[in-house]
Symmetry: C2
Subunit: 215 residues, 2 copies
Amino acid sequence: MPTITAFESSPDRGRGQARDMRVRWALEEVGQAYDVRLLSFEAMKQPAHLALHPFGQIPTYEDGDLALFETGAIVLHIAERHDGLLPNDANARCRAIAWMFAALNTIEPPIVELGMAVLLERDESWYEERLPILRNRVGIRLDELSRHLGGADWLDGAFSAGDLLMVTVLRRLNASNMLEAYPTLSSYVARGEARPAFRRAFDAQLAVFTAASAS
Amino acid sequence: MPTITAFESSPDRGRGQARDMRVRWALEEVGQAYDVRLLSFEAMKQPAHLALHPFGQIPTYEDGDLALFETGAIVLHIAERHDGLLPNDANARCRAIAWMFAALNTIEPPIVELGMAVLLERDESWYEERLPILRNRVGIRLDELSRHLGGADWLDGAFSAGDLLMVTVLRRLNASNMLEAYPTLSSYVARGEARPAFRRAFDAQLAVFTAASAS
């Protein structure tokens, strides 16, 4: 059974924004049970964890003699070894992987940049002036993504690992009101969140936070 | 023969920073000839190109009935179908793919953020105050990457698609002086740039710029 790592006490208070959520969801979609090893922020920067993850982050993934880091790579590994997250058709499989990279390299960076500014620059003199610039950068991508999605349920045919990553990336906007202007994308995220595998993964990570805050 | 798209007139004046460089390099590493279709900035936002690339960027990759976007996905597709960019050992292959995602989702975003600030915010009142914050974010990742690389030639065993993407991502720092403080990483980038396949790819994209500026 694979073992993943996650925050001992998630900074998002169990809202499913930490990246272990992506791996949990993928494992639930394919019906693969897993163990979780919880880490404090201090433990994440110690040599034992850095040997697994050069950037001292979570999640990692260990299965037998394989140790992996980077959420995208872990989700792809799970998707390649089980049915349910990548199409069988060779071209459709390539396109689903393209959407995985699009989620992580095209859509997520401006969303993270906006989130970092809200978190770290709120009291800076330039905050009010920069905020619309950052929101506009995100908005350009949301316009394009919404136009691509149109009336479809998922990004390219059936639900895939590309949708799994894209939905989790868009959920990072939950604390903003940006998705409200995009009913197409709001419905898309809701469709992802309604999947039983998403619910199971969400409940599992929430249970970690609830237990930590009760203790 | 596959066809990729590239800028008709590269904004980097042929310095190999546009993302077609990554795909050209991958194709050269595996010895696959390719065609290039050059696009103006206007053409990139037209419906014909948006049907290939939902975010209106370059490069795209077309081969028979397959059309792909996202550089990471295109490089992975090339690496999966040819020898030379991914190890044969299953675990080592997973780890090479992890480095592809690390280049694009962990290292590149703070580098792009720094580059965007230098390009777009140089005249803003907050520029001088924010610049060290952005450089520090990049520096943390460079510290970690340098520590991981240590005395090794490549990130994990033999040269792989992970190194190819990481070298091109680090080259985005060429206009800054940030790599000078990291001899390990400077040597790593130089090692990538010395590969014959890199040189051929670099010369090919430079020739496009030279021809465009002569006409």
